[in-house]
Subunit: 338 residues, 2 copies
Amino acid sequence: MSIQGKKPRVTLQDVADVAGVNRVTASVALGRSPRGGTRVSEATRRRVLEVAHNLSYTPNVLAQALHNRRTHIVGYYAGYETLNASHPFAAAILNGLQRSCRRHQQDLLLFGSFERDSDADIYAALLGGKIDGLVMLPTPLSPALDKLYTSPLPIVGIANAHPAIPCVVVDDADGSRQIAAHLVRRGHRRILYRTHRERRTSVQRRLEAFCAAAGDHAMTVAVSQTDDDHRLTEAEIEMLTAARDRRPTAVVCWMDLCAHAVIAQCEALGLQVPADVAVVGFDGVPPVLPPARTLTTVSAPWTEVAMAAVDHLLALLRGDKAPPETVLPVTLHVGDTA
Amino acid sequence: MSIQGKKPRVTLQDVADVAGVNRVTASVALGRSPRGGTRVSEATRRRVLEVAHNLSYTPNVLAQALHNRRTHIVGYYAGYETLNASHPFAAAILNGLQRSCRRHQQDLLLFGSFERDSDADIYAALLGGKIDGLVMLPTPLSPALDKLYTSPLPIVGIANAHPAIPCVVVDDADGSRQIAAHLVRRGHRRILYRTHRERRTSVQRRLEAFCAAAGDHAMTVAVSQTDDDHRLTEAEIEMLTAARDRRPTAVVCWMDLCAHAVIAQCEALGLQVPADVAVVGFDGVPPVLPPARTLTTVSAPWTEVAMAAVDHLLALLRGDKAPPETVLPVTLHVGDTA
DNA sequence: GTGAAAGCGCTAACAA
DNA sequence: TTGTTAGCGCTTTCAC
């Protein structure tokens, strides 16, 4: 193992000293300056460049950032949600953020879940100046974090719309309508819609659009609201195991992971999917591993959402403005579960 | 949408001005200083704190970092490999890094793949001072990047051992031996071992240990080396479809994703898994979605590897030293494919 | 207990 | 074409 962290970093002053010029001259010669073309003589420039190379000089981006007020770091904050990269949704977002950041030569700083920290700490971490702007997943925040939206920090939201910031979302309502239309075609009339308790806009929009569309198609919808996406409630089990002519013939879940959990539990209850109950999800991130069941789901372009979010954020940083709400289209993918 | 990026940040000077004290006094009063307890009067301190709170003052971490030479940011660089969060391995690593970073109050900066950038650019990005230390996936680097190992930047490697830096790896050799033992018990004698062309130490160790163990167990091993983990080569297909008494009865893959691809293709060729060919993987990251087949694989604690890496990195930053090679144990998980 | 001075490394503006 | 001055926001050292 090498002697790490021992050598002091090579500074611009060092380069200037060796090259026998002023710090500033060296700085300009290194070419990042505006009209550096005429400022430094060709001879000097070459000398400085050579010295810099010999010394393996790398500019201290911190000092640059302090001066320019630009770190070229974009932050991602998943709200109170843990940023679990194993979660297909989170992974898709992360991939999009990375792609876009690379394209724009920005670095990506991940803010994980802060369960333990106070809101003040989160606020400080986010506004400490490490990042130029923030992409976030707007969830119902505590009041203390509402300050975020009026802070000097440029913010773009994804997945959930929020009136205070530009947001990039998918067409939740349309997805729900597509699901409803599909189920009607398959002859379903009694639906169990499984939603999430937290009032995120995307969750709400999916639910409302589905209920509306279901009404138009003369389907009856029982709505089940829960915190735990992975376990059926007593009430749900009771419904699903009721008499054949009364129980719902399809379960629509607000997101894929929930749908997969439902499938597993239905099968455990002796219900065939989709023969006895059809199951539909929402998100449609293609799995890397071949899954047991190909879920019928609304496929949403989460990677593109993340990329658009970074684009908009950088527009804000340039002083341009970003559209309040960008809605990306979704598609229904019919699998073997509904 | 709010007026973003307009308000100037509130600075320590602002706080000091309003509180009617010197910048320094304010700084000390804010309590980050060593013996601030006695330095500032209780009255002053309270006043400063109150003003700071009223103004929603957040210290500029950049300025702090410039002074302290500590950004409290840990970087992760996946080498030339794309950091694909959908890849179970990458996701497990990311989760581990995040957990450990949060625990240690560090931020995590992701360096994506730099395919397009020159080595010099990578080097500059990594050494620019944004990060205090780096966790990386040592892969056979270009000579230009070898400088990284002798640079002042503290580095800890994961997954692949590298003599120049402290590394955290899993017990590749033991995993291979467990696989060999399992296959012998199941009566396999002719094995196809599918390895990767790039000479990473983990890949090498798995291969060598497997061949050695296979030899001990009197199994014959055909080694197939390839760039493309997802597609069987002509030669492999030929082997697998040879006469029953000559073809390999088991395929051992250097990693899970490869194994899943092999399974799919074997089945496409009309070969039953595991009846006609058994398939074994390596990595064993538990999938979030229920997979079609439960792979027989060596399960490695990648999340813990990542966490240990951050721990060691922070030890280096403290001036302590980290063990050259930390080896974490693995376990064979017998699924339904071998 | 408090203020003044110096410096972290860099760059924009102004002189020479 | 080059050097000087000043300042980004903060903290540590040393006088008062």
